[in-house]
């Protein structure tokens, strides 16, 4: 077998590599510590202790109490839990939920499913950088509004929402507030202690933890029905034998992430700004999607639209050079519609189809960005050479100049 090709990995918003130290913490629970944490014997109690330690680590990372952390199978499950659970719990108060036009599918697709059951959903629009307006939120709240769900940071364009302001509005109107913080936790400071947030979603594999485990923060005293029934795990609120090694890994990974948060945030932000600058100065006809102002964009997020080309074909060329990125193009999904996030910014279908996201992580280096910039301009040029849109633009420019 050939040795694996060196991969240039720029898809950290999709998932991150497992931290080797995290794997070390997990290994005993994949081998000798196999007891079911619900067991009464001491062999099982040891495993239970491990889970409770991980719960403390997760709680500490977001300034919550351990009793407010509930482990799930994923961020998706945590989001489903909040939306479906709150609808059931508060159906006597009404059936109106406010969310945004740029949420992850783990929110938007749950919302559409709920709307088929009669729940009314308001999707707040965003501006051309992806920000929700607090005044739009105020205007959207109705007497029958039971939940506001706004993501902390966007996975495609990196926009960080003004969560303190938005959650304060929810609190002042007596509406429960949920935030899908899957892209934020472990990457930027997240503190629920002084914010009126009732629910917060996390996912381990976004911060160098394992896949298949997430968590929901539920503020003490907040009522929400369960969606999974069975055993008495997670204080009777989320049934199913615990993904023990996953939970241990989530705790360890988040502990590591917050311990080095400031340095990692600075390092990754510098890499991000370097890549943005290199693309903007090297490749003509590009547009950065998402915000530029300091502390309003996720440290690792770079998203560009390349005029006249389609994202999937650029991803294929990049892949041939061992480079991993993602696209908002429809062709990288099963539907013909490009990314709902990019369209919500008001950009054209054509530009949305031509978007590429590079999401950087703690393991990326400046050298890797230089390597990417060795290949990317050539590939963009190659695709533009075969694009009828580039040809049209040239022709109309020539006509204009005549």
């Amino acid at each position: 077998m050939n040795p694996p090709k060196k991969v240039l990995y720029f898809d950290n918003a999709a998932t991150t590599p497992l931290h080797p130290k995290v794997l070390e913490h997990m290994m005993p629970y994949l081998t000798e510590q196999y007891g079911n944490p619900s067991g009464v014997y001491s062999f099982a109690r040891e495993v239970r202790k491990g889970i409770e330690h991980a719960r403390e680590q997760v709680a500490e990372a977001i300034f919550a109490r351990p009793g407010e952390i509930f482990f799930t199978s994923s961020g998706t499950e945590a989001n489903n839990w909040v939306l479906k659970g709150v609808v059931e719990t508060l159906q006597h108060k009404g059936g109106h939920i406010i969310t945004t036009a740029i949420e992850h599918h783990a929110i938007t697709h749950v919302s559409s499913a709920l709307s088929k059951q009669g729940v009314e959903i308001t999707y707040l629009p965003v501006d051309n950088e992806g920000f929700v307006s607090p005044s739009d939120l105020i205007a959207a709240i109705r007497p029958d509004t039971i939940l506001i769900s706004i993501m902390w940071a966007n996975n495609e364009i990196g926009t960080i929402q003004p969560i303190p302001e938005l959650s304060a509005i929810a609190k002042s109107r007596g509406v429960l507030f949920h935030t899908d913080a899957v892209q934020a936790v472990g990457h930027i400071p997240v503190n629920v202690e002084n914010l009126p947030i009732d629910f917060l979603t996390m996912s381990a594999h976004k911060f160098s933890g394992p896949k298949g485990v997430g968590a929901l923060y539920i503020r003490k005293g907040t009522k929400v029905n369960s969606i999974l029934f069975g055993g008495a795990q997670e204080k009777n609120r989320r049934a199913g034998t615990e993904n023990v090694a996953g939970i241990i890994g989530m705790g360890a990974a988040l502990n590591l992430a917050v311990a080095n948060l400031k340095e990692e945030q600075e390092k990754v932000t510098m890499l991000r700004d370097y890549l943005i600058e290199r693309i903007e100065t090297t490749i003509p006809k590009v547009a950065l999607n998402g915000p530029r102002a300091e502390n309003t964009r996720l440290p690792g997020n770079v998203n560009f639209s390349f005029d006249y080309i389609e994202g999937e074909s650029l991803l294929l060329l990049l892949d041939m050079q061992g480079c991993c990125a993602s696209s908002g193009s429809a062709c990288s999904s099963a539907s013909l519609e490009p990314s709902h996030v990019l369209l919500s910014l008001g950009i054209s279908h054509e530009k949305a189809h031509g978007s590429i996201r590079f999401s950087l992580g703690r393991e990326n280096t400046r050298e890797e960005i230089d390597q990417l910039m060795e290949i990317l301009p050539k590939q963009v040029k190659q695709l533009r050479a075969m694009s009828p849109l580039a040809e049209e633009a040239e022709t109309s420019k020539a006509e204009y100049e005549l």
């Binding site: 389609e310 074909s313 294929l316 062709c331 990288s332 490009p338 279908h349 189809h353 075969m386 009828p388």
Partner: protein, 136 residues
């Protein structure tokens, strides 16, 4: 979703990319909304397609089907050219992922649109040709 080697070959080394200055017929199909635009140029002499070129905005499958469709049409008589369907292109490429089959339909439409343009310009009737749908 994965492309086979033949598709990847036609995507990464596409045949017949370019334009024909004095083309006998030009056809453009698709739109930026759905993410695929194919523009096919044909050089027809006598009754035979002497040359074909294309420009495509689209995914890997769109580029590969454009490449294969132009390969298939070169050297064909107009009557033979009309026999090239999306299935012909699909088979010649050894298949596409199911979500990408629509790209092969676009290739067939692009060939027909270029032949239609040729017929219009020369005021001739080509039997069996599909009138191109305005997509812009």
């Amino acid at each position: 979703m994965e492309y086979n080697d033949m598709v990847m070959d036609h995507f990464s080394n596409p045949r017949n990319v370019g334009t024909i200055e004095d083309a006998s017929g030009v056809g453009t199909v698709g739109n930026a909304q759905c993410g695929d635009i194919m523009k096919v140029y044909l050089k027809i002499e006598g009754d035979v397609v002497q040359d074909a070129k294309f420009k495509t905005f689209g995914c890997g499958a769109a580029v590969a089907t454009s490449s294969m469709a132009t390969e298939l049409i070169i050297g064909k008589t107009i009557k033979e050219a009309l026999q090239i369907t999306n299935k012909t292109v699909l088979d010649a490429l050894g298949g596409l992922p199911s979500a990408k089959v629509h790209c092969s339909c676009l290739a067939e439409e692009a060939l027909h649109a270029a032949l239609w343009d040729y017929a219009q310009k020369n005021d001739i009737i080509i039997e069996g040709i599909k009138i191109p749908v305005e997509t812009h």
